[in-house]
């Protein structure tokens, strides 16, 4: 131990010791010279080298102090130039020393050792495995056999005992090695877990960056649309000016009266033609939309399933219907309080209120900028959302603090801003008023709109012409089916469930070209051909009113108050799959990967088709820990993993799933 004291003492004294053989000044001069040489050789590494040098000098001193204590333990196989000279004059030496140099700070920070095995033990345990794995295994087996063979030969001889002991110790050794290797494996798993955690952190950071970028993108796109609108307007003005300029020179004063009349006629004609042109407005905003869709929001795809993207206090009352166009796009909600609200999902803000319906809206659908709402007042209204005055940057609300708010949610949630008055004034297109009872379901695609009403009829509308093309009487179709087939299959059947659950006569409809699917309160799903106006297939299976349905190219999925979700094969008309929940299914929606349902719970039930897995998504999971009970989810919609659910207390939750 006193060695180190001496060492330290000399370390402090430096090369200036008085009792050395050489003169201290000479050594000092040597030090300086050598240090400068070294700095020339490797400039940046000079600092550590000083240290080496000092250490080396200390060693020299020490050896001079204790000349009698040397003992040779190893023969010098190689020639050993002194540490001192090497550390000062060889470039590669200096480099390697600099690379492997550890600062004093780092040396101070040495935590307690709590590893179950040392790295060296790990080395000795894994090394034979790496080099001659097969051999070892074989040896073990053969040895086992040998033991069996040889044990009866001379069981009483001392050699035998000795051998057995040797065997035991080698087996013990192997057991020890196995233990170490086991520990190694588990600690490697821990290491990987740490790496995963680190990567998770990085992922979060990048996700935030992505969110910011999408936010910027959305704003920029809005500006582009705005700019294009202005260009269009300017173009119209320029064209008008040109046409006027071209027309005026040939006009005389006498013609003026006639021209006025002409203009009048022209104007009136344009008014006359406004209805069809108005009904074809989807085409115009669609152009705008295509501009806006230059970039697709992909943020939600990177969220973990079940991540709450947003929660909006949309209404004070039950949500009665809702829909959205694209992830982070526009959402429409309607509630028992008879209001219809338009939301910007990206910013989580209300864009405006749609005024017109005199009762609450029970069914609605939005596609591009065309919104169709069906209300309890028996009317269907069409709206053009592209006519809304809305600035996504929110400057018109006098809130300038938006820039640093990457997702722009919290503010919107904390203090719901009332939408600007009259922002939706130009949106109404026209009203369809043929039904005589409340609209409970509607669906449109292209120019074909089909609505289902409590008056027990379906109406087929042509949006191009803005009028009803045909009326489909469900009761009549049911009666026809029962007469013609006489199997009872197609007839109207009263379900054994009480109708008091306020089941809508027509729970849901979906149309595609001339194909129409409709689910009714008798638990039947009827597939109609709109060209003939006939039911060409009935899907029987549900024992309660059908509340929701959706189909794609292969399957039709239906949800019913009998608590089940059924997946039908569209080609054969047979059941493809089915599952049930604890409560009646009130709403269902699916995308390419999952079927999401609202089944009278505070969570959305999600069925992952790819993994055939059921899981829950929604406020009921997280808030259960906080002893809060969120309201029952009534309505769900999912598109491309972007899930929106509406609850009985008027809150709308947006989730990634």
């Amino acid at each position: 131990m006193d060695d180190s004291d001496l060492h330290n003492a000399f370390h402090d004294e430096g090369p200036g010791g008085e009792d050395t053989i050489l003169s201290p000044r000479g050594i000092e001069a040597f030090t300086r010279k050598v240090t400068t040489t070294a700095s020339h050789l490797a400039g940046h590494a000079s600092n550590p080298n000083d240290n080496h040098y000092r250490n080396a000098m200390t060693q020299v001193h020490k050896s001079m102090r204790r000349p009698g204590m040397q003992r040779s333990m190893f023969s010098m196989a190689k020639t050993t130039p002194t540490d001192l000279v090497r550390s000062k004059f060889s470039t590669s030496e200096i480099q390697s020393r600099a690379l492997s140099y550890l600062s004093d700070d780092m040396l101070k920070n040495i935590p307690e050792d709590d590893n179950s095995y040392s790295l060296f033990q790990g080395f000795s345990a894994s090394f034979p495995e790496l080099t001659d794995e097969g051999k070892k295994h074989r040896r073990r087996v053969s040895r086992g056999r040998k033991m069996l063979e040889e044990s009866p030969s001379a069981p009483e001889s001392p050699q035998h005992l000795h051998k057995l002991k040797k065997e035991r110790s080698s087996l013990m050794h192997e057991l020890e090695m196995l233990g170490i290797r086991k520990n190694m494996a588990s600690s490697e798993i821990r290491e990987i877990d740490n790496k995963i955690a680190n990567l998770g952190g990085m992922r979060r950071i990048i996700l935030e960056r992505l969110a910011g970028l999408e936010q910027e993108e959305a704003l920029l796109e809005h500006d582009i649309v705005d700019m294009e609108g202005r260009i269009d307007d300017a173009q119209v003005l320029v064209d008008e000016a040109e046409s006027i300029a071209a027309a005026t020179p040939i006009r005389t004063d006498e013609d003026d009266l006639v021209t006025d009349q002409d203009a009048h006629e022209f104007m009136s004609q344009s008014v006359y033609e406004q209805l069809p042109s108005a009904s074809s407005t989807p085409s115009k905003p669609r152009r705008h939309k295509t501009v806006r869709r230059k970039s697709m929001p992909i943020l939600h795809e990177h969220f973990d399933p079940g991540f709450n993207i947003r929660e909006i206090k949309a209404h004070q009352d039950n949500i009665t219907a809702m829909d959205f166009d694209v992830p982070f796009g526009t959402m429409i909600t309607s509630a028992m309080d008879d209001t219809v609200k338009v939301w910007d999902l990206n910013a989580g803000r209300c864009i405006g209120m749609l005024e017109g319906h005199t009762a609450s809206v029970r069914a609605l659908q939005v596609e591009d900028n065309l919104l169709v709402t069906g209300s309890m007042d028996a009317t269907i209204r069409l709206w053009d959302l592209s006519k809304a005055h809305y600035d996504p940057q929110g400057s018109q609300f006098g809130r300038e603090d938006e820039e640093d708010d990457g997702m722009a949610f919290e503010n919107a949630d904390d203090q719901p801003v009332d939408p600007p008055e009259g922002s939706m004034d130009e949106c109404p297109l026209f009203t369809l008023e043929s039904h005589v009872d409340e609209i409970t379901a509607l669906h449109f695609r292209g120019d074909v709109l089909v609505s289902g009403s409590a008056d027990k009829t379906l109406r087929h509308w042509d949006l191009q012409k803005g009028r009803c093309v045909q009326t489909l009487d469900v009761m009549w179709a049911a009666a026809q089916a029962s007469v013609s087939l006489d199997t009872g299959e197609g007839s109207w059947r009263q379900t054994n469930r009480p109708a008091s659950r306020s089941a809508d006569f027509i729970g849901s409809v979906q149309v595609f070209e001339s194909a129409l699917a409709c689910g009714t309160a008798d638990g039947m799903v009827r597939l109609w051909d709109l060209r003939s106006g006939q039911v060409h297939r009935s899907l029987v299976g549900h024992t309660g009113p059908v509340t929701c349905l959706q189909f794609d190219d292969a399957h039709l999925v239906t949800g019913s108050l009998d608590r089940s979700i059924r997946i039908w094969d569209l080609r054969t008309g047979s059941i493809f799959d089915a599952y049930a929940y604890d409560n009646p299914v009130t709403s269902m929606s699916f995308d390419s990967r999952r079927i999401v349902s609202a089944a009278g719970e505070d969570v959305v039930k999600v069925y992952d088709k790819m993994e055939s897995r059921q899981w829950d998504c929604g406020a009921g999971i997280t808030e259960a820990e906080e002893n809060r009970t969120p309201a029952i989810v009534d309505h769900v919609r999912v598109k491309e993993g972007y899930l929106v659910e509406g609850r009985q207390d008027g809150i709308v939750g947006v989730w990634a799933c």
């Binding site: 060695d3 180190s4 060492h7 053989i21 240290n51 080496h52 000092r54 250490n55 080396a56 200390t58 060693q59 020299v60 020490k62 050896s63 001079m64 204790r66 000349p67 204590m69 040397q70 003992r71 040779s72 333990m73 190893f74 050993t80 002194t82 540490d83 001192l84 550390s87 590669s92 030496e93 390697s96 020393r97 690379l99 492997s100 140099y101 550890l102 780092m106 040396l107 920070n109 040495i110 935590p111 307690e112 050792d113 709590d114 590893n115 040392s118 790295l119 060296f120 033990q121 790990g122 080395f123 000795s124 894994s126 090394f127 790496l130 080099t131 050794h173 020890e176 190694m184 290491e191």
Partner: protein, 151 residues
């Protein structure tokens, strides 16, 4: 089995094929290399007789020291041993003394200290011999010259 290798262990080189296995494993794991694999390769290098290998081994050990705080304590010993083998006694002593400070009862570290002391003593004596030899030679020459001048 001892948790730390004896100094003798570092003096027995691996076969080139064995070292290659370790290197392959190390290179296979690429950037996400595990501590154990890194150590295995580093230790194989330190055991080698080639000075370049030893230097690389010590570098890898210092990397482990930097990146895996939970392994630092035992790494002190490996670093000390590696530097001792390289002949960098200053570094070797620095690490070994630090380890002994934390674990005074560590037999391997105490052994290593003794080895370092001995090595330093013999080498230092050689140094003294060389320097004094030079001094004597200078003295002799100087004496001759001086004498010649006087004549």
């Amino acid at each position: 089995m001892a948790a730390l290798p004896h100094a003798v262990d570092a003096e027995t080189p691996l076969k080139p094929s064995e070292l290659k296995v370790l290197r392959d494993q190390y290179e296979k794991e690429g950037e996400m290399v595990g501590v154990q694999t890194k150590f295995n390769y580093a230790w194989g290098l330190v055991k080698s007789n080639s000075r370049n290998d030893q230097q690389l081994g010590v570098q890898l050990l210092s990397e482990i020291f930097r990146l895996s705080p939970e392994r630092r304590r035992e790494c002190l010993y490996y670093l000390a041993l590696g530097n001792y083998k390289l002949g960098n006694f200053g570094e070797a002593r620095r690490y070994n003394d630090l380890l002994l400070e934390k674990e005074p009862a560590n037999l391997q570290a105490a052994d290593l200290r003794r080895l370092i002391d001995d090595k330093v003593a013999t080498e230092g004596l050689k140094g003294v011999a060389i320097i004094s030899g030079v001094a004597i030679a200078a003295g002799v020459i100087g004496g001759i010259l001086f004498r010649g001048k006087r004549r």
